[in-house]
Amino acid sequence: MRAWRNRRQGAHLNRRRAFLVLLLLTITAATGLLLSLAVGSFTLAPGEVGLALIGRGDGMAQEVVRSLRLPRTLSVFACGGLLALAGALMQVLLRNPLADPYVLGISGGAAVGALAAMLLGVGASLGLGAAAFAGALLAMALVFGLAHGDGSWTQTRLLLTGVIVAAGCGAAVALMLSLAPEQQLRGMLFWLMGDASQAGDPRLPLLVLALGLAVALFFARDLNLLTRGPLLAATLGANVTRLRLLLYFLASLLTATAVTSVGSVGFVGLVVPHLVRLALGNDQRLLLPAATLAGAALLTLADTLARSVIAPQQLPVGVLTALIGVPVFLLLLARAPRVEPA
């Protein structure tokens, strides 16, 4: 009742409401994690998962949960969070709710790196990851260098440069696909659609996610200012140039880490921040952590489905994120807007 009245008066967020929302999302994400660990060719009860995690109970269950499912689940969880956070940051940087982590060519660069490595016969996930990460960094440096050329660093210039570099990467990817031998094609296509079965050690993505979120939250109110335009942000005390550089490099690194681990999973980075914005408003102090948790939960759930729907065959997780996300997004979009006329 009080929440409803607050809403009618247009009350902005306060710390308590934000905490409650984040608590709810944390529980959802944790449930997703538990589900992901329990479901598979060898389905476990939640209690058994818990026992296995602390190293007790059935030996077989321990093996499945701790060695097989946990690394992949945590990787997917981290990457969902990375992509959603990167998308939210990119939307602030470009002041465009339609921006996503891939719009500036980061994933294109990673794809070129990964596919080139596959063509050259690099099979090991470590080498592949290194190649993808190198490609992403190269694209990031290229876009930054070209967009920054005359020091103007305008949104339009940055966006155009990114889109063009992404297009170039797309052409290179198409070229490599057409040249690739038949038996490599399937692996390449899976990588391009987002493939969690290749995910390696989850510790690095989790660490990057935690650090990235901490940095983003430190600047969250400055980012709120930036959404109101660079001029107003500057008069209210934000260092706009430094803030934009930080945003660019942070979002790029988060994206590079995610695509290195699970490939170009689409949709999460665009739609999760957008969806969270529709539901909770545009205060970055809530939007950033909420999008991170929601992205992590969504990708975990999608991956659980991807490897269980038509088991033993696995689907690329990127296809499922879109299949789940599109209807949810359309439903939310059709709903009444959050801030209704008084």
């Binding site: 967020l13 001029l231 005390g237 545009n282 102090r285």
Partner: protein, 258 residues
């Protein structure tokens, strides 16, 4: 000590001189109107006074301190700028939009308090938008959006107000109300006003000093009553103006083509 002090200020943009050797001292409570043709550089000068653009030569000081010494946040506590355009890329409520003005007053991890919210509601009431706190800014009319921007500036509580066309989109009643509101800030709260205006009659009535920008770096600065006359204004705008006197009040009107 002057709230705003400019010494030997040269400002150019893209090779075009806006002012040359401008010396300007504004004390608490003083109101300055800047007048000039479109594109003469009024906004650029205002942004230079706000410390957002570096001058080519000379110094700008607030309370005796340079912008470099104040830092971005220190400056935000002293001066506020009303931008000419409001960039609303994302939707937000009116209240949220006004609360943005409290940013420099909050510490890094602070959230807006009930007191901040009260200030925002007061500011909305002051610009005549008391009932609209919950509305989305995307549903507002141009004039309403402009008044939300005025309210955002009010909650910032600066000592120096730099207003870039504060009357844009406002109807007659709200133009007077806005000027009365800021003049009260100058009177009771001893704030200093610098306003870019296009209405010479309102400028004459609501300013103590005027700065005329003639282009090519040429400018005139002085007491409004002394500087504003038909000849100067006709030259300023490149269009003939005439004075009509009634009840001891002078009114400038353009000569309309026959």
């Amino acid at each position: 000590m002057s709230t705003l002090a400019c010494r030997a200020l040269d400002v150019t943009i893209a090779g075009k001189q806006i002012v040359r050797g401008l010396n300007l001292m504004l004390e608490p409570g003083q109101r300055l109107a800047i007048l000039g043709r479109n594109g003469v550089g009024k906004t650029t000068l205002l942004h230079t006074l706000a410390g957002l653009l570096p001058p080519d030569a000379g110094a700008v000081e607030l309370d005796g301190l340079s912008y470099a010494a104040l830092g971005p946040r220190g400056a935000a506590l002293l001066r506020g700028l009303l931008p000419q355009h409001q960039g609303d890329a994302f939707t937000a409520s009116v209240l949220e939009t006004v609360l943005v003005g409290r940013h420099p007053h909050l510490a890094r991890w602070d959230w807006e308090s009930a007191a901040d919210e009260r200030l925002a509601h007061e500011a909305l009431a002051a610009v005549g938008l008391a009932g609209l706190a919950a509305r989305s800014i995307h549903t507002l009319s141009g004039g309403e959006r402009q008044r939300v921007a005025l309210a955002t500036l009010l909650v910032q509580r600066p000592r120096l107000y730099l207003l870039d066309e504060p009357l844009a989109h406002l109807d007659l009643k709200h133009q007077i109300a806005a000027l009365e509101l800021f003049s009260r800030q100058a009177g009771a709260a001893q704030a200093t006003l610098v306003m870019v205006l296009h209405d010479v009659n309102l400028a004459a009535r609501y300013s103590d000093q005027v700065l005329l920008l003639h282009g090519e770096g040429e400018h005139e600065l002085g007491a409004s009553a002394a500087v504003l006359d038909a000849d100067r204004l006709s030259r300023l705008y490149g269009y003939p103006l005439r004075v009509i006197e009634q009840d001891g009040q002078r009114w400038f009107v353009p000569e309309l083509p026959a």
